[in-house]
């Protein structure tokens, strides 16, 4: 019995929920407005259900499990989807890089690009990349100079200054 890709199962479940949300919202619109969302949504739900059932009954979806790349090789030698298993290391690293990006995003919102960029670069290069100080400083200076030169000098476009410096934040 093959190992089932748990990550794929949860992803399919997430997409199913997402499609269901669209279908549910569609019901509150007029007949024409909801037609395409419901048609597409229904089709997606059928396929999602097949994928979900395929976790339990692999034979059910095996005949659909083809793509142009898989056609040209013997199915018996086809890689199984075990690589899709979200192993703890991958999940941990995904969370770590997402937090780095989120932290950088929060910095941008607070103090704007010109201050957030060097802070993020120095912290990332030193803490995550373990890069030496000279390289970190040079790379930070070049990147900051490039972004500053591009927006402030070449494009004369005022880049976001951050809400702490009274930058306008459009309504969400």
């Amino acid at each position: 019995m093959k190992t089932k890709p748990k990550g794929s199962f949860w992803m399919t479940l997430l997409l199913t929920g997402f499609v269901l949300l669209f279908c549910a919202l569609s019901l509150s619109y007029g007949a024409k407005e909801r037609l395409i969302p419901l048609i597409i949504g229904f089709g997606c739900l059928v396929f999602c259900t097949l994928l979900l059932l395929g976790q339990k009954f692999p034979k059910l979806v095996r005949s659909f499990d083809v793509s142009v790349h898989d056609l040209m090789r013997d199915r018996s030698t086809k890689k199984n989807t075990a690589s899709a298993v979200a192993d703890p290391e991958v999940a941990k690293k995904t969370v770590v890089i997402s937090l780095w990006a989120l932290g950088y995003l929060i910095l941008i919102f607070l103090v704007g690009f010109h201050i957030a960029n060097p802070i993020f670069l120095v912290l990332f290069l030193k803490m995550s990349g373990k890069i030496s100080w000279p390289k970190t400083i040079i790379l930070t200076a070049i990147t900051w100079g490039f972004i500053y030169g591009l927006f402030e000098i070449m494009l004369k476009q005022e880049i976001f200054r951050g809400i702490l410096f009274d930058a306008y934040l459009p309504p969400l």
């Binding site: 890709p5 992803m11 399919t12 997409l15 499609v19 669209f22 919202l25 619109y29 007029g30 024409k32 407005e33 037609l35 395409i36 969302p37 597409i40 949504g41 089709g43 997606c44 396929f47 999602c48 097949l50 979806v61 005949s63 659909f64 499990d65 083809v66 793509s67 142009v68 790349h69 056609l71 040209m72 199915r75 899709a84 991958v90 690293k93 995904t94 890089i97 990006a101 950088y104 995003l105 941008i108 690009f113 993020f120 670069l121 990332f124 290069l125 990349g129 890069i131 790379l139 990147t143 972004i147 927006f151 494009l155 476009q157 880049i159 976001f160 934040l169 459009p170 309504p171 969400l172």
Partner: protein, 498 residues
């Protein structure tokens, strides 16, 4: 028609500075193409205001030069970083990146540069031959035909993408649903905004693509935790001329892919991404080495690169002749026309053929300059793959966020890009093809519009979808693509049993 060509050439050769403008445009296009997630639309949008007051012809040379260079720039990042700058370079990842990983980065770039330049030239020649019949061809595609063309594009991409067909279709369908968020021009109402003012404009193309294609790849880099390749830089950068020769050895694939690219480019709304995959799929299905595709087969790279460059020339035609943008970049080009007082439409082809040829020449020169530069610097470009990713991740992330913000100066776009990036990574990780998601997203609104326009034309009768010969052919093609895998599978099984 030829007067327009003479006029454009006369301006080009009488004003050497125009070569300088095109060279500058090519370098800008190359840089924007190389930087993952930026690409042609962002370059055009950022530079649009700076050309106000320019001679329209020079402005067209400039923007066409950018557009001509972007695909090769995008292919550099697709090949070396496995990160397509734009969707139209996505198929280049399939075989370009595996070539890099086995130490043939220079050869892959050589193939890409040559196929890009020659593909662009092919597009120009075919365009010149087809202009007289252009109007008939484009006019033959009404809303029902257009709808099925969109569906065909989506199914073909789901079939072509790595992963499996069902996951491809789910991705495509979800992409379509996301494209329906926001204000609908068809109904004049808001849908799926969940009370958010930001979503009134829908999920915008640039932040969504930057996130889905570039940021997701950065997350992937981080998770992998090494340089893209540990191959010696000299090994990665060599064999450039071998790549050049390869294109000439794959003549049939090259001409077929260029023809597909040009013809698909002419069809409004479909664009280079579909041309790219259609060419790639055709190459897979017709090649004697089909089993090597996806593992670094040079023919796959030739098909991808020739088609997306040839597509550019074709994509301009519906934009100019009917004011229908063939792609996101063409939508920006329409804005450039308006800025320079040019009105696209049937009259344009009669009165402004010089502009059309300025665009075509700009694309070809931009293509050739970018490809030449790429060839000269291939050995150095290949070294990018050996750089520690700790340098690449923060710098590219900064460029992605800054480029996303610059698009329309809305910081929430940066949030969207990050969310799309995480979504893209998770989708990719679980073998849901991202490119299907993107194509569904791009074609969704257009397909819905075509659907309702068709019903308006037929006064509500669904028979309109099954009466035109073109729609019937397209339906047959869709069914063929859906059924073909099972037929092929059966054939493979029979062969195995025998």
């Amino acid at each position: 028609m030829l007067e327009g060509l003479y006029s454009a050439l006369a301006l080009l050769f009488s004003s050497p500075e125009i070569f300088g403008v095109i060279f500058l445009a090519s370098v800008i296009g190359l840089v924007f193409g190389v930087l993952p997630g930026l690409g042609g639309i962002t370059a055009l949008a950022i530079l649009l205001p700076f050309t106000y007051g320019w001679n329209p012809m020079i402005a067209m040379f400039f923007f066409a030069g950018i557009l001509g260079a972007v695909p090769f720039g995008g292919s550099i990042s697709a090949i070396l970083l496995n990160t397509p700058g734009t969707a139209e370079n996505a198929a280049s990842c399939f075989d370009g990146h595996p070539m890099v990983r086995r130490g043939e980065g220079g050869k892959a770039l050589g193939i890409s540069a040559t196929a890009s330049a020659l593909g662009g030239l092919f597009g120009l020649v075919l365009l010149l031959l087809l202009i007289p019949v252009l109007r008939m061809v484009v006019l033959a595609f009404g809303p029902p035909e257009f709808l099925f063309l969109c569906l065909f594009g989506l199914v073909a991409v789901a079939f072509a993408a790595r992963g499996n067909l069902i996951k491809g279709l789910v991705s495509g369908g979800t992409g379509i649903l996301i494209s329906l968020v926001g204000y609908s021009n068809v109904f004049g109402s808001l849908r799926f905004t969940l009370g958010s003012e930001y979503l009134w404009d829908g999920i915008k193309l640039v932040p969504f693509l930057v996130g889905l294609l570039a940021i997701s790849e950065l997350i992937n880099f981080f998770v992998r935790g090494t340089s893209i390749t540990e191959i010696d830089p000299s090994a990665a950068g060599g064999k450039v001329m071998e790549g050049v020769k390869t294109v000439f050895h794959k003549k049939v694939c090259f001409f077929r892919s260029s023809a597909i690219g040009t013809l698909v480019g002419m069809i409004p709304g479909v664009g280079a991404a579909v041309a790219n995959f259609l060419s790639y799929t055709t190459a897979v299905q017709t090649s004697r080495r089909a089993e090597n595709f996806g593992k670094g087969e040079p023919e796959g790279l030739v098909a991808s690169e020739a088609s997306n460059n040839a597509c550019l020339s074709g994509a301009f035609l519906p934009t100019i002749a009917f004011g229908i943008p063939g792609s996101g970049a063409m939508a920006v080009i329409l804005g450039i026309f308006v800025l320079h007082g040019l009105e696209p439409g049937p009259l344009f082809l009669r009165e402004h053929m010089d502009i059309l040829f300025a665009i075509i020449i700009g694309i070809v020169l931009g293509n050739v300059i970018a490809s030449g530069f790429g060839l000269l610097t291939a050995k150095y470009l290949a070294r990018i793959t050996t750089i520690n990713i700790s340098y690449i991740i923060p710098i590219v992330l900064i460029l992605c966020f800054a480029g996303t913000y610059a698009y329309r100066e809305n910081p929430w776009d940066v949030v969207l890009a990050l969310l799309a990036g995480i979504l893209g990574f998770v989708l990719k990780r679980n073998r849901f093809p991202i490119i299907c998601f993107v194509i569904g997203y791009v074609l969704g609104v257009l397909a819905e519009k075509a659907f309702h326009q068709s019903l308006m034309i037929s006064h509500g009768s669904y028979a309109i979808f099954f009466t035109s010969p073109i729609t019937l052919v397209l339906i047959a093609l869709i069914l063929l693509v859906l059924v073909f895998p099972f037929l092929q599978l059966r054939r493979n099984r029979d062969e195995n049993e025998a």
